[in-house]
Amino acid sequence: MSHGDETVHSSDPVLRALDRARGVLPDQGPIGVFIHHNTLHAYQHLSFHDGVQAGARALGARPYLSLDEFRAAWRRGRIADDDVRHEVSAFLSSRRDDVVVPGLSRGTLWHAMMVTPMDTADAAGLEFDIREGVAPQREDQPLWAACLARVATAPRRTTALAGPSPRRHRDVLVVLGGDDPDMVVHPELIRLGAGYLDMGQARAELPERQRGFLMSVCALYDRGGRAPRLCRGVGDDMRDVLGAQRSARDVIAHCVEALGVDAATLDDFLFDTALALPGWTGMFARLERHPEDHPHGPPVSLADFVAVRLLLERRAVEHVASHLGAPSAWTALRTSMPTPQSRPAILDAALLWGAARAAELAPSTVRALSDAAVQSLWQACDECTDIARRQIFVEAYERSYRASILDALAARRKLSSDYGDDRPVAQFIFCIDEREESIRRALEEQHPRFMTYGAAGFFGVAIDYQGLYDLEPAAHCPVVVTPSHEVHEQPLFTDLGWHAMRLRLRDRWHSLERRSAAASRTLGGGAGLSFLLGPVSAARTLVHVLAPRELHLLGTRIRARLAPRPTTRLSTIRPEAQPTQGGRKPVGFSLEESVDRIVATLTNIGLTRNLAPAIVVLGHGSTSVNNPHESAHDCGACGGRRGGANARLFADMANRPDVREAVRRRGIDIPADTWFVGALHDTASDEVRYYDLEALPPSQTAAFEVAFAALETARRDSALERCRRFDHAPLTLTPEQALQHVEVRSASLAQPRPEYGHCTNAICIVGRRELTRGLHLDRRAFLVSYDPTTDRDDKILERILAAVGPVGAGISLEYYFSSVDNEVFGCGTKLPHNVTGLIGVMNGHQSDLRTGLPLQMVEIHEPMRLLIVVDASPEALLTVASRQAEVAELVGNAWVQLVSVHPVTGDTALFERGAFVPYEPRPTLLPVVERSAEWHLRTRDHVPPALVRAALPITTVGPGHYTGHLTTSRMLA
């Protein structure tokens, strides 16, 4: 990864500060391709707690949920009290038994301060509650009186109610009552920056933008730009910059000097200045490092943006300061911050009251406390900081959940995992995505010989894929991989004529749409189109809002009737003889390369023997409308794109006789009567689209029909399971109605939640599916198939963890941060979002560029670090970590939780502080249900693990559970 290492090479203080900022600024590219990543990736070299606290401090964000949120979770039992006590003890270690005041140990004090709001800073609120008689203090009036009396004469707690110390001029100026310079500077910067970066939304582009941001802005001001009133004089500054052709670095240095920032504070000042408008600044930093993200854009540089910012800011600060009569030099201004108020006595009394309650002190004892004892209490309270308590809480929050999962896994392991050795009826290979857990479970419930597997959704074929109508190839593989092959979708020879004609018509139609969209904004065009299209558009909008699904189906049907998509094939195999043209990637794979990929993927997931007659490979993607974040729902393992092409390619390769022949020589026997079918599972509408069914041999139809019918049932069951999370879907829906409900969601303009995406993800299980099959995991587990018995030198485990670790951690951490602080790390509610320059969204008419995930995507998430449970011995995991630096960093610095379950003995061990610590699962009786719907349709809330009898082996639950869902239904086109 290009950022993250904080080694700074520059000796120049300005460039050094910018480098530092670059590491912290949001690293999200243009929103059209959304890739989940650790929001605080730059801090990954620190331990999790140090990293999130440092990152949150720099960005002014919350590193964890708030104490109130944790306390609410504690009250409803989500966090067990034992776990809180355990984590407090672990945090304080030997100091937990210190005596703070007679009768009160440090551990007890901390526990009390965690679960009760005794150290509130809201004096007015407390007074109100006491006056109204709703404060807990009413329960023990004499004690409260004693506390008030004692505090009146005791030494006061010195912690002042200070806000954060000022970082920039505006922080002081605003407190002094002046105008906020940012209110003038930011709108100006946003308009200029958005115009500069625009990828094609506006009709006119910023003049001379090839000269770079600084120069083009200066030129604009030189030729008629009028500075805002509060920035008077900036026009001359810009003319000066333009005339002398100053570099951005010099401009920054000059402005900083003019703002009176001395060498000692320069680094922090510039760092905070760059972080003052993090979204836009971050986009400049990102595009500077990744010019390929906006292929036809102008040159971008972070220094340019900061330079323009400082030019404007300097003048604004000067005007505001002189208006107030305050100094504009930072060295002088920062000391003129008014002193904060002192701490009201009632807050100290409340703290004493809380401590007295925790220690069960009598009022007389409180009155008799010595000054030294009170002092010692204040000191102990000061040590128990807000952040420390939240850090303990998050550990307890994770601990409670982890225990429930590990216990359930251990309980499942005690049951049989022997599904017999007959040939499976059908096998399904899904992406590891936790959203596929439900559909996999739904398949497994139907027949003991339906097997499902999980592989990273690009199925080992990293390609630059160009679909029939794509303008250029795009990478379909994890972001860390650079594909070395292109694959194109090509029409069949018989359809070539129709393809050419359809392409022409399509181009013409799109150009018409484009031009009318552009024309509707012009004076004349707008008038003409109003008369021409106004009524039609109104009718269409009406239908779209009232019957989105029907309109979508109608459109699909009409297109299929009037202009069907030509039949296509992929350019899978490249003839050995065909030379690659100079510098371009080869199109298609050679026989040898295909064989490598088939063997690798089948070996990775442990599917090396006993292949079923029908094997369906399902990539996934998501369809929604009116959703700027649509790409965030697509496949992370395909680089934020859809995995259908990869599944199709994989199946096509595996079906070729010559490939099979070579694969057989490497020890995997693909029987002649096995057929692979590639498909795309739409995680929003739960539609499954199959590829290349025309090529299905007639002898295989019956076998495929069984798999097809199973998927038809499973996608309905899965839709039903998803629907329980949506308030607008009653819990009493039938599977068929549930499917219609999610289809409406996917097609509706008015739907900000087409699906919940990766929301609620919490676990990643790497191992044999037999050991977890039949366990209801509530769509919260990434399921990676891995068979330790065939992996002799841990090479497969290494491959899997190297891919899954960072991808899973990226998703989990992005969700973590976007849920703990949705306003800073996330992008807030979707409703006022305004798509800007095709690169991102703003709130309303002009705001910072909003990065991260919207509220609607994370609202039911439980922010925890990913719990990775691996079916491998601790030694194997340590070996892998020693070879894979990124995995070692994530695990060693505790950005994920790693658990080893020994493949043979089943012993469980959790990686903690540098070593595996054995975990003894508590004996657990899991609830047993016949089908998973009986379990999850009871509530809309998260459900704990349960056993699903229908998916367990016959030997476990006796015969007679076979549910006979295998009626073949009519094939969909």
């Binding site: 805002p228 707008g526 008038a527 106004g534």
Partner: protein, 433 residues
């Protein structure tokens, strides 16, 4: 027949606000907000009732049962002070029924859209309450038979509009924008208020049916009246120099932006001019001003829309080009054309606003038109930078208005200071209490 029409008119106007009252009653009785589905059911019923009643009025106007009902429908006196009488009168004619149905249908559509769009939003109930208020406001504006009732509706629209802009009141920017829109409305509404009183003086009645008498007014009086009407229309329809609040109005949730600034509210000023057309017709100077303002706004907005890289801001200005154009059409005298243009344009924009978040999706599907210099720039390349800068800064309209009003603000601040000083002075009587 008249009775039926009376009932239908009353339902069309009152059903939405009664439903809002019902929601309020539920809130008070249960001491908490009604659930989302309850709110939608109640307000939705009100809005649908309003649409159905509008259809009944339409049928009656077209003469579906008996003779066509057209003209003033009396509801008695609203207020009587001496010989000063404010009549409760609604008016049924082609324009009023068209606008009434058009706005009630669009409001109902947006209500349906928002049911899922605003799901789980903390201000869900507030949104529907405002929607109900707005619906009654538009019905009053559309159907009022006299300026007084019209003004009441006009104010309801203004209030609802300001609250919608400030919908996300936990952030500072929406609140600031809301305040700016509200202040602009207050300023220009003064025009309508003065015009109402003046009409009463000049014509003896503020009924629209009495406006026919405007032709005989002395040209000075007619021009004064017409300019006052024009002022209030300019504020409501964001014409120059009041255009600054329109892009800021994009702070609200997308469906309210669509309803207000794409479809209904932005066109209200134009509708006012159509209603008082006899007065406008009588004053050539006012019409000239109107044409100039409309065309200037249209040109200004089409320059701004070219540089706007954000979806909603560009749409706001695209809307403004047509609103300016329609204003010019009205003032030229092409009122029929203007009415059709207005309705068709609102239809076009509503869909565009509702689909604004789809911009990235659309670009992936159909690509985008390349950057292209305008005709003016192709003819005169030297104009590129100044034009771009002026459009990007939007002529710094807000700032100029702030400067123009700074004496007022300074006076207010002085008064505030005096007030504070007076309060701070020791007042013996206070201490004795």
């Amino acid at each position: 027949m008249i009775e039926a029409v009376q009932v239908a008119l009353a339902v069309a106007v009152l059903a939405p606000i009664v439903s809002v009252g019902w929601v309020g009653l539920q809130t008070m009785l249960a001491d908490r907000h009604p659930s989302e589905s309850q709110t939608v059911r109640i307000v939705g019923t009100g809005l649908v009732a309003s649409v159905l009643a509008g259809l009944v009025v339409l049928a009656a106007m077209l003469g579906a049962a008996g003779p066509p009902v057209v003209g003033d429908i009396e509801f008695g006196d609203w207020l009587r002070i001496g010989d000063f009488l404010i009549a409760g009168v609604l008016r049924v004619d082609g324009i009023s029924v068209t606008i009434s149905l058009f706005s009630s249908i669009l409001t109902a559509l947006v209500a349906r859209f928002s049911r899922t769009y605003l799901h789980r939003e903390p201000g869900f109930v507030r949104f529907y309450v405002l929607l109900g208020l707005f619906a009654t406001g538009t019905q009053l504006v559309a159907l009022a038979g006299a300026l007084e009732l019209f003004f009441a509706g006009w104010e309801l629209i203004g209030i609802a509009s300001a609250f919608f802009i400030g919908y996300f009141h936990d952030r500072a920017e929406p609140v600031r924008s809301s305040l700016r829109a509200f202040a602009t409305y207050r300023f220009s509404d003064a025009g309508l208020l003065i015009a109402t009183v003046t009409t009463f003086e000049f014509l003896g009645s503020a009924r629209f049916s009495a406006f026919e008498g405007a032709a005989s007014l002395p040209s000075g009086e007619a021009t004064l009246l017409a300019l006052l009407f024009l002022l209030s229309a300019m504020g409501k329809s964001a014409q120059l120099p009041f255009s600054g609040w329109l892009p800021r109005a994009m702070e609200g949730p997308t469906p309210s932006s669509a309803l207000f600034y794409g479809a209904v509210s932005i066109h209200a000023g134009l509708f006012l001019l159509l209603r008082v057309w006899p007065v406008m017709e009588a004053s050539i100077p006012a019409r000239t001003v109107g044409v100039a303002v409309g065309l200037a706004t249209a040109l200004y907005a089409s320059a701004v829309v070219r540089v706007h890289p954000d979806a909603k801001g560009a749409l706001a200005h695209a809307t403004l080009t047509q609103v300016g154009l329609i204003l010019a059409e009205i003032c030229v005298g092409w009122t029929q054309l203007a009415l059709v243009h207005l309705v068709c344009h609102a239809f076009l924009r509503l869909g565009q606003y509702l689909k604004a978040p789809n911009m990235i999706h659309d670009t992936h599907r159909i690509g985008h038109e390349p950057h292209r210099p305008s005709l003016l720039v192709r003819l005169w390349p030297g104009m590129e930078a100044p034009l771009y800068a002026a459009a990007l800064h939007r002529l710094r309209l807000d700032e100029r208005i702030d400067v123009a009003f700074s004496p007022v603000l300074a006076a207010a601040r002085t008064l505030d200071r005096v007030d504070r000083w007076l309060r701070r002075a020791p007042r013996p009587r206070d201490t004795s209490e």
